[in-house]
Symmetry: C2
């Protein structure tokens, strides 16, 4: 491996900062608590977002975490880069997956009998390969435990998400200078995305859910906002073909349209989610009214949410605001397209906990979620507002901070 | 669901064309051959790329394909859109996954005893949920069979890939007008990606491999081309942070640099892969020589490849060209970063068959692959050429057609 190129991976930009050692140690301590509670002797972490969380690197690896004692990162590719990126001390080359049982035994004395794996994301055939390599080992699913742990962010993580939120805020201010009548949604999206890239948007948006996919969010104009689709999201979009069937389309933006600017920002691996509305001429009165109701739903959640409040209570408060305005049937989509949540955790993945739905999960200090009250009105499209919030001891702090009024553009 | 929005999903643009019924019927016939050979009574297709292939839609679905008789698409979300997108006749709403056994029994008389599933991609916990719902059913892995079937493209599919290749060719011609000295790699990428979006690039690049991720390709300048990373690719890149650790970085493009323009185009769900080289001033003589060798390796493959030739023979021919020039150790990466293939199938996913490696798989008419002989030179970066080819009765036909000389830019 080219030393000059390796060094360059760390020297290019301060935001490419490494995960601090104490962050990783605290996270591994949390994972060891899971192992103790579940009666497991070790965990084997394999998925990119989880690897980055627990090891500070996504180099192709198996992270072995014993219930007691230091973790070992076994790296298939590229071990020298993993050593630079990860604060872990024990980073070992793994020539082939077949070598893993032998290397675990060498480093840790013996093989564990009961081991946790992320079975919520690991494909069956890869799981079976591990089962064959570790014939005496019983594997248990710790995916949901990892997801619960990752829902509560450290101060360091909140600052990473704040940086992503600042990118969303900044890109938003550039939209009026990029939007021209007659452009397609795809062309506008390209211009917006170019600015985002210049500002450091990483492109890849990780999602944990099987078959879930996202590309920058949903920049939807006019009737496009009503096009429901396969995603577990309130908005879908027409898309550029049935193969993708979401997001921007070749629809031309016309005078009288409005633009739902639903934008997912990613910096340093961390995600912020954000929605605002532009209007090319006056916003249709029904959309304007629904937008006010969305903001009232947001206010209702802000007044209520704090540590100890359940997701179900948050969902109920938002839904009540919609129903009081007679817009219950349009809240978070219509008909088949409707989803039963008003927000979702964000972090290293877009679809984290807490999901603001009829769930007993209680909000906790350090949780970060996108709150996105939205309406889909037949024949008119969608409106809504979305901000990324962190749960503090007192309530919610907004990480996305752009003004929320509908921006009417004169073209 | 909003009828106007639904209709809009089909009317916006001709390229959003639907998969023809005869395409889907031919593909389902191929799947039924797999079922016969494997002694299975049915297949249940669940993954997005495979759903699009066999049903013409990615709406959240389970496609049930009995060994004999018509298939049923059970749709969780959005059934009305699935009915518009899919040429299948039997498209049924699936209120909840729990309803699937009952609905299969209703439509098909009984539950199958042995059923094929894509176990190469289906997560363990979802598989266990299906096992619990179908207690008498034995599931077999048909993922590799589906992958083999999809490797051979129909004429209709080749035309879709040709459209993606044309997008890559066109974007390539725009690069000289977008590149400025002092830009970061990220800024240049954003400008290039904006043009691609305007031309209909769909953004989402599907990959089948667990943890594999790609965002438009690898636009790498100067030493960035030497930064190996976790991907199963010859090039990696510095990336914008260790969280993503691939692709463009904040490195500023300077006089004397060269640009590896490795670009993945996606239109209508189909992928073409493409690499060319720009140079800001004369290309370093060692890079120029390696680039000539890459083209010789490409020529060696073009002279050899036709139906019946093994992937191993193709790999050997390319490797021999590199070794004859004394560049064997730099071919397809260096050291840990080196991969042992010189090309990969492309289609609805970026990592399809055939993989041009030491494999007995024989090329067949209709296979489409990206051939990408590349070198990584210590301290200098990477060079190489990449084209997407279809295997014809006589040999290879290039779908990407841009000129291959190094373009020297005067800034």
């Amino acid at each position: 491996v080219d030393r000059a190129a390796l060094d360059a991976t760390l020297l290019v930009e301060p935001s490419a900062r490494l995960t601090p050692r104490d962050e990783v140690e605290r996270r591994l301590a949390g994972l060891r608590e899971t192992l103790a509670v579940r009666g497991l002797e070790a965990a084997l972490i394999v998925q990119n977002a989880d690897l980055y969380y627990f090891a500070g690197t996504v180099q192709q690896s198996y992270l072995y975490v014993p219930a007691k004692g230091p973790a070992t990162l076994f790296v298939r590719k590229v071990v020298e880069r993993a050593r630079l990126e990860s604060p872990l001390v024990d980073v070992v080359a793994l020539p082939s997956l077949r070598d893993l049982p032998r290397l675990v035994t060498e480093r840790h004395g013996r093989l564990p009998s009961r081991t946790g794996l992320e079975l919520d994301v690991l494909p069956v055939s890869q799981f079976r390969r591990l089962e064959a390599l570790f014939p005496g080992v019983a594997f248990a699913d710790i995916g949901p435990d990892v997801v619960r742990q990752r829902a509560v962010k450290s101060g360091w993580e909140v600052e990473r998400i704040r940086a992503a939120a600042a990118l969303a805020d900044e890109v938003y201010t550039l939209v009026p200078g990029l939007l021209r009548e007659g452009m397609t949604e795809a062309e506008l999206a390209g211009r917006v995305e170019a600015e985002a890239r210049r500002l450091g948007h990483e492109g890849v948006i990780r999602m944990r859910g099987f078959n879930q996919e996202m590309f920058y969010g949903q920049l939807l104009t006019g009737i496009s906002g009503s096009a429901a689709t396969y995603l577990d999201t309130p908005l879908g979009g027409i898309g550029l073909s049935p193969a993708v069937a979401q997001g921007v389309s070749f629809r031309r933006i016309r005078r009288g349209d409005h633009v739902v600017f639903d934008f997912v920002a990613v910096r340093g691996g961390y995600i912020a989610d954000f929605t605002r509305i532009f209007s090319l001429g006056p916003l249709h009165p029904e959309l304007a009214r629904a937008y006010d109701v969305a903001r009232r739903a947001q206010d209702a959640v802000k007044a209520l949410a704090r540590p100890g409040v359940t997701c179900a209570a948050v969902w109920a408060a938002a839904l009540a605001a919609a129903e009081e305005a007679g817009l219950g049937a349009s809240f978070m989509g219509r008909g088949e397209g409707r989803v039963r949540f008003v927000g979702h955790g964000v972090g290293l993945e877009l679809d984290e906990l807490p999901v603001l739905t009829t769930s007993d999960l209680e909000l906790a200090e350090g949780m970060v979620f996108a709150l996105e009250p939205k309406f889909v009105l037949p024949g008119l499209g969608a409106v809504g507002v979305e901000n990324t919030f962190v749960v503090t001891a007192d309530g919610l702090e907004a990480l996305t901070t752009a003004p929320e009024h509908v921006v009417e553009l004169a073209l």
